[in-house]
Structures are given as C-alpha cells and as structure tokens.
C-alpha cells in the first residue's frame, strides 16, 4: 500500500481527511494506479481498494479520463449508476444538492463526490446530516419545507407505482399531521431548526441516513 503510487497527491489526501469524515482507506491513499487492480489476481488488496471513494469515482469515468480523475466532472447519469443511488428515490435531489456545477447539469467533481460520501458516512455528525437532509427534502430550494415539498417527498417515498400513491385526502391528512407535529412556530412551513429539532429526537435517522460504498 505505498502511498507514493497513489494518483492523489499526498497533501491533498491529508487535507481531504481533515475535511471529511472519511478515513484514509475510504478516500484511498492506497489507490493503486488505475488499471493495476484489474491486472492483479482477485485478492484481499483488490477488494480493499474497491471500497474506496477514489476508485469508485474513477470507475465512473471513461477510461481515457481516469488519469486526471481529480479535475474532471462526472455527468449525473453516470453518478446515478451507483447501486445505492440507483435504488434511492431522492437520487436527483442528492445529485443536485452536492453538485457544484455552474451549468446546472448536476454533474459532480471528485470533491463533490467526497463531500457526498462524507455527509453520508458513519462518522458524520447528526447536525451535518440533518442539514443536508433538509436540503435534499427542500425540493424547490426555498429554504423551508412547505406543503408542496412534503407532497413531493411523500410521492418519492411511496414509489413509482400508481396504485401505491396515496389519495389526495390521505395526502392532505398526512401533511396536516406532519405540520401539526413539527411546525413548532405554526407558520405553515418547517424551517431548518424545526427540522433539526424533529430529527434530533429520531432514534434511527443517523443510522439510516448513510451510504457506504
């Protein structure tokens, strides 16, 4: 596991460790040069490497771009091929929230990707997780969760099937109940602090709001 063979520069790796909740293995200091894992016989080292963010990220890139994986952006369609995101109903929102792309195509750079994994990692605090969860659920990006956001959220959670959808009466009831519980200052929307208040009481938010590659 010579760090020198990694494509990520040493200091960048240290900085990434400082800035994210990921550890060395996860960011992958130990990344063998791309192409090397395939040359190796199947062994522990390869399995080990496959769990790292860097490797996963460079796998999403076309082969010719792998050499400079740190500087290119991966289009959204490629990001969504990750199994954890493919099955996730909030895939588009997640891409949107973590992308820093200026043209609004939700493509991700390596740093965005690391940001995402850091937030979804085991070690991340409940505070930061809930902040990002709030942004993910805030479908119209207006800083508060209103009735429309909640409706979209419910539709995401109940899946695509038509028969699975809740009827409009049920939906109304549900949203009313949620607002009744969470909207502490009774202004008809849920803001970030109210959201965090609710989330911080939840027993299983932190354990379920995580993605492991």
């Amino acid at each position: 596991m010579g760090g020198s063979s990694s494509l990520l520069p040493q200091e960048a790796l240290g900085e990434y460790q400082e800035l994210t909740f990921l550890n060395k293995q996860e960011i992958l200091l130990a990344a063998p040069a791309p192409g090397l894992p395939r040359a190796l016989p199947h062994g522990g080292a390869v399995v080990f490497a496959s769990s790292s963010a860097y490797k996963r990220f460079s796998e999403l890139l076309p082969r010719e771009q792998r050499e400079n994986a740190c500087s290119v952006r991966v289009p959204k369609s490629q990001i969504l091929t990750l199994p954890e995101l493919r099955a996730n109903p909030f895939q588009h929102r997640i891409c949107h929230v973590f992308s820093t792309s200026e043209d609004g195509d939700d493509s991700m750079s390596f740093e965005d990707f690391l940001d995402m994994l850091s937030v979804f990692s085991d070690a991340a605090t409940s505070d930061i997780k809930s902040r990002y969860a709030f942004r993910i659920f805030d479908f119209d990006d207006d800083g508060v969760l209103d009735g429309k956001d909640l409706e979209k959220l419910v539709n995401c959670l109940t899946g695509q099937g038509e028969e699975a959808r809740l009827s409009s009466i049920e939906m109304e009831q549900l949203i009313r109940n949620v607002l009744e519980e969470s909207d502490i200052d009774k202004d008809g929307t849920i803001n970030l602090s109210e959201f965090q208040h609710v989330i911080s009481r939840s027993p299983d938010f932190v354990s379920s709001f995580k993605i492991v590659l």
Partner: protein, 847 residues
Amino acid sequence: MAVLELSLLMHVKLFSKDLALINDNTVLRFLGKNGSDVNNEKDSAAENQENGRGADKERKRAKPRTRRGHARGRARHGGEEDGDDEDGTRRAGQRRQRNRRGRGRAGGNEGSDSEGDPTKARKNQANQKSKEDDEQEEDEKGGKSGKGKNEKKQDKKADKKGTKEKANKKKKDKKKSGSGSDSDSEEEPITEEELAKLKEEVEEKKKLIATLRNKPWKMKKKLSVLKEAQLFVEKFEGALGKGKGKKFYAYKVMMTKKWMKFQRDFENFKTACIPWEMKIKEIESHFGSSVASYFIFLRWMYGINMILFGLTFGLVMVPEALMGKPYGSLPRKTVPRAEEATAMNFATLWDFSGFAQYSVLFYGYYNNQRTIGWLKFRMPLSYFLVGVGTIGYSFMIVIRTMARNANEEGGGDDTSFNFSWKMFTSWDYLIGNPETADNKFASITTSFKEAIVEEQESRKEENIHLTRFLRVLANFLALCTLAGSGYLIFFVVRRSQKFALEGLENYGWWERNEVNMVMSLLGMFCPTLFDVISSLENYHPRIALRWQLGRIFALFLGNLYTFIIALMDEINLKLEEEKIVKYNMTIWEASLYNGTIPENSTAPPIQVDPADVPRGPCWETMVGQEFVRLTVSDTMTTYITILIGDFLRAVFVRFFNYCWCWDLEYGFPSYSEFDISGNVLGLIFNQGMIWMGSFYAPCLPAINVFRLHTSMYLQCWAVMCCNVPQERVFKASRSNNFYMAMLLFILFLSTLPAVYTIVSIPPSFDCGPFSGKTRMFEVISETLEHDFPSWFGKVFGYASNPGLILPFILLMVLSIYYLNATSKSYKEANLELKKKLQTSRRKQKKK
C-alpha cells in the same frame, strides 16, 4: 451492588441527556429568531451553537470578557459587509487584524490594513473571498424567506449599536496598555498580553481546523479555509514561543503534530482491522440495515468473547498446562481405571468425558496448590479472579454500550413526532438492491396508510369483545405452551438423572442426549407456535413483534431456569454422594495399610496408581460438562436448521419451480426470510449459557468464539444465497437498546446461579482449585493473609464493615433520586419553553 451501580449509571445518562435537551440550541435559536426579546447573551449563545462548537462554549462562558471583545471586533468590521455568523474563520481573521493594528499603529488608521507584509494582505483577501462565498451560498439557499432574513438583519443592527460603544472603549483601553508605542516591524518583542492573544488565536485556528469537517460547506471553500488556517498556524506558531519557553513550546508543537498523525494512522489502522466489514456492507446493501444489524451484533459479541477467551486462556488454561502438575500425577488429573478403556473413543470425547473431562478444559483438573511453577503463579486466586473478572467485564461493556446507544438515540421513546419521523427518516439510504427498495416502498406506503387510519379511527372501536376474548385466549395458549415446555424439560432432566444413576452405557444415543435435544427442539418449534397464536390477536405488527419477542424470551428463560433448577437438584445429589465417598475413602485408606495407622501419615502411598484411587463425583465438572454439551448441541441445531430450513428449501424452490403445478417462488413455500429477532435472541441466550458455565468450564469461551466465527461465515453465506429481503423492512436501531437490555437482563440472570454456587455451596473435596476449602471465595482472604502486609487486611476489614457499606448504598440511592428529580424538572422547563415560543409566535402573527 451491581444493580445499584447500573441504575445509577443509567440515571446519570438520563440526566446528561436532559441537560443536552435543555441546552438544545433549537429552543434558544427559536427565541432568537423570533426577535421578541433578543439580547446579546442569547444571540451569542445561539450563534455559538450554530458554529457547532459545543466544547468551545464552556470556555467562552468562563471568560465572558474575551467573548464580548470578540463580538465587538466583529461589530466594527460589520460596517463594511453584512456579517454572517456562520463563518468562524473570519472572526479570527478580523481579530488578527485588530491585533496588528493595536500593535502597529497606535492611532488606528483602519483603512490601510494591506500595507503590512504581503502574505497577510493575501490572506485577508482570501478571507474576504471566503466571506463572499459564504454569502453567496446563503443567497443560494433562497433568500431564507425574506422575512426571516430581514429580522436577522435587524437583530444584528441592534447588536451592533450596542457593541460599537463598547468597542470604542476597548480601543482606548488598548492605547493605554502600552503596546501602542511599537513600530511597524514584525520583529518587535511581543508583550505578554499580545502573546496570550496570539496564542488564543492559534488555538482557535487549530480548533477550526479540527471542526471544519462539521461545516456544511462545499469542498472548495473548506479547502481554502483550511489552507488559510494552516498557513496562519504555521506562521505564528513559531513566533509564539519567543523568549525562554521557545524550545519547549516548539517541542510541544512538534509532539502534538506527531501525536495527531499517529492518532490518525492508528484510527486508519483500527478501521482496517475491523473484520468482516465488506461482508456486512454487502448484506447491508441487499437487505437494508436491519439484517446487517444482526451481523454487527454478532461481530460485537465475537469481540467480547475474544476478550473472555483471552482472559481464561491466558490466565487459567495456559499456566495450568505449562506449569501445573502433568497429567497422571494426581487422581484428579487421571482418568479412572473403569473409564480408561473408552476414554479415547470419539463418542466419549464428543460427549466431553474421558480424556476431555480430565484436562484443562474443566474445573476438576485444576490443583489446589497455592502457587505453581517457577513463577509462583497463584493458580486458585487467578482462577477465582478470572471468573469474577469475566462477569465484571461483561457487565461493564454491556452497560457502556447501552449508555452510548441511549445517547445516540436522543430520547427515542418520544412519540410526539410519529408522522414526521415516518416522513423524514423512514428511507434506508443503505439499500442498494432494487428488490429491497421495492419492498421498502411498499412498507412505507402501508405504514403511512396505517398511521392515517389509526389516527382517524383511534376513537372508533369495533367488536371489542371478540378481540378481547381472542387476546385472552391467545395469552392463555401461550402460557400453556410455556408451562408445558418447562415441565417437559424438568421431566427430561429428571429422567436423565435416573439414566445416569443406572449407568449410561446401557442406553442409546437418544437417552444420552435427550435433554439437549429436547431443549433445542423446543427452541426451534415453540417460536413458530407463538407466531401462529399471535395471528389470533390481531395486533399492530410492531406490537405483535414485541409480544412475540417477549414470549420467546420467556420460553428461553423458562427453559434455562428449569434446566438450572434440575442441575441444582443434581448438585445436591452429588453432594450427598460425596459424603458417602468421603467416608468410604477413609475405610479404603485404612484397608490400604492393613488396618494399621502408619507412623508418618503425611507421606502419600506411592505404590497406588492415581487411576485406582476412589474419588468423589466432582459436581463442578459435571455442571461445566452440561453447559458445554448444551452449547455444542445448540450450535449444531442452529447450523442444521440453517442448512435444512434455508438452504434445502431454497434449492427445492429454485429447481422444482420448473416442474410444479403452482409458482413455488411466490406461492406457498417461497424462500425464507431472515429471522432477525429469533437469531438475536438465540445469540443472547447462547451468551447467557457461556456466562453461566464459564466458571466451571474454562473452555467455554473458546468454544463460543469458534461457534461465532463459523456462524458468521455460515450465516453470511446463507443470507446471501438463500434468503429474500423481508416484506416488512424494519429498521434496526429502534430495537437496538431493546436487545441490549435483554442481554443485560440475561447477564444478570445468568450471574445469579453462578454467584449462588460460588458463595453458598462447598467445593468438592478432591477436585478443582478450591478443594479443601469450605467456600470458594476463601481464596481471597487466604491471599490477603499470606501475600499482603497485615495492615492491608485490617483496612480491608474496616472497609467491608456494614457500617460503612450501608451509608454508601444510601448515598447512591439518594443521588439516584436527586438525578431523577432534576431530569424531570428539566423536561418540564423544556415544555414550558416550547409553549412560550408558540404563544410569542401567535402574538406576532396577530400584530
């Protein structure tokens, strides 16, 4: 005592939780945002929290002066750009500027900051940039509902006005402090005050670096802030130690750096050492977090058992094997003549008798010599302490884990956010398998619908008499099953004693293994029966699950305790037998010397082979053997159930589906689901048996480690190859502490009989490390007498005086009461705050 401590611990936890509740930034922040009564204190507290520096807070409270100075500094610069309190770095940066000004220009020409050295100017630019970034991001967030932002601004303005005056005053102070006479150059000696300030800043930067990952910023911004902070720290760290303490300071800084690096490396190393991480992750993505939680629990159990194994193996078994008297030197270390012929047969060894019985694996083999070998290893003491340590360690680790879980849960039993939790936290982001995702969608939809229906029909109750009747009937049936299984076990154990008395050789395999088989079979079939019974009750699935768990728990517990009671019976029988043997021994010894009492009776008769010496029944070894057999047969049944119930069923369904009249995969047999609760309970009870039996069979932890190791692989394989994701996907952590509480309960219950036997039953006279003593714990007083100075024994005697212990217990009870009362009052205060908030909001709306 242990119980008391336990409850005390839990209360402490509760207390701290409530403290966190009251400190909770949310409430404070709500108040701040409402702007009805903003004052500096509250604002700063809220802001403090927002920066995510909980630890920082204490320090700042302790030194309000610096805190305020801080605010002033910000206020002064606040005129240039609208401050954003989320940005922690800027504050430090500004303070630096202020500092420099104070040092450099007495007059304080504020405009010409950038005249200083170029690096600083650059840094300032970077600072400015990061600020702008931050604002941009704020704007991106969508104006934050204009209203809210306006309020914020107003608050800030009020804040500024208040602080500006103070800031002016502070400036004057600075002039007075003497540093104003310095020139522009950097090399000027720094005064103590400046040094302290600089030091504080460096500390702050360092803290910023440490907490940077907690900030919800984009990576680019975090990177720039980090680089800037690092530059700052590097630059000024060296300057700090000017004067006498420089070398020491530099050394300290270097050591902290090294230490940090080491810690990080060690952390990386630790994560690399966690076994089965990939396996569990794979399962997580296929089955969601609930199934994976079982495997994590299994791994945790494995870790504990490794430590127990290390204790018994390293401190009891190995010393005895290396330094104790060898096999065949004593009667207790030799297979008796009658058993010699069959001692090496596989069937005998499999039954843990024969050579296995007379080895380090069991209690009876150990000798009662006070010290063994050239190390003067105190074997009996070590044996006793390891037994106590095993239990103590288990208690400690279980309670610690429970406390940690409780902390993480943050008051999970609060049901006031039922709907919100369903909406915001029900998706399991770990799911990466489309099939599981589909199941999850379905289960979320049904849970929504159920919740709505429940809400609507909470008042309406139909056919209450029928449901009541059915529930009573179901409970009656369950009780019958429990009683029946208890009686069956009692009956079987009694019968096995009869067999044992008549000699096992005359009976077949079934008679010999009847007890274990019956217990395993009951454990296998009764839960299914309970499942059928619970369908009568028509409970909500979650409540039904709880009932089911409770019943299985009662079943296992009942079985275990009947088993123990039967064992106690047997122990009493053996004790009777021992008396007779003891009497016979004297006759036998007398006959050995032809009725003449030898002159030097201390010399042992050398001519008699140890195998021929008559010996007592040694009930301790018998108990150990029973537990080992039970563990082994339990393991076997589990594995066979997996192979038949999961694997063969899956094979059948898979391959016969081509030529069958109905769809096997979605129809009747289908594939099996992974039964989390049953498996967890099985694991817990298995652990209970280990705790109970390991005092009498030091090999038990080793066997259990082996069992857990193999079952990790076997069950991982079985889950991945022949189980399907559950239709109702439960989430794991809700019941996490529930299982831990069960484990604790079992631990307590399993220590009871072990402690009882240790304290109140005399050890066998001719086997084990405590032979010859009237009680096992006498080894402690013996050690105190021989190996410690006499004053120590006296102190110990005083300390164990009831006059001291009783007040201590009283104190503990009182403190529990006190903590309980305070936690209650905190909860009330919290409610009060919430109410206040709502009323103030309502008032605002009316306006």
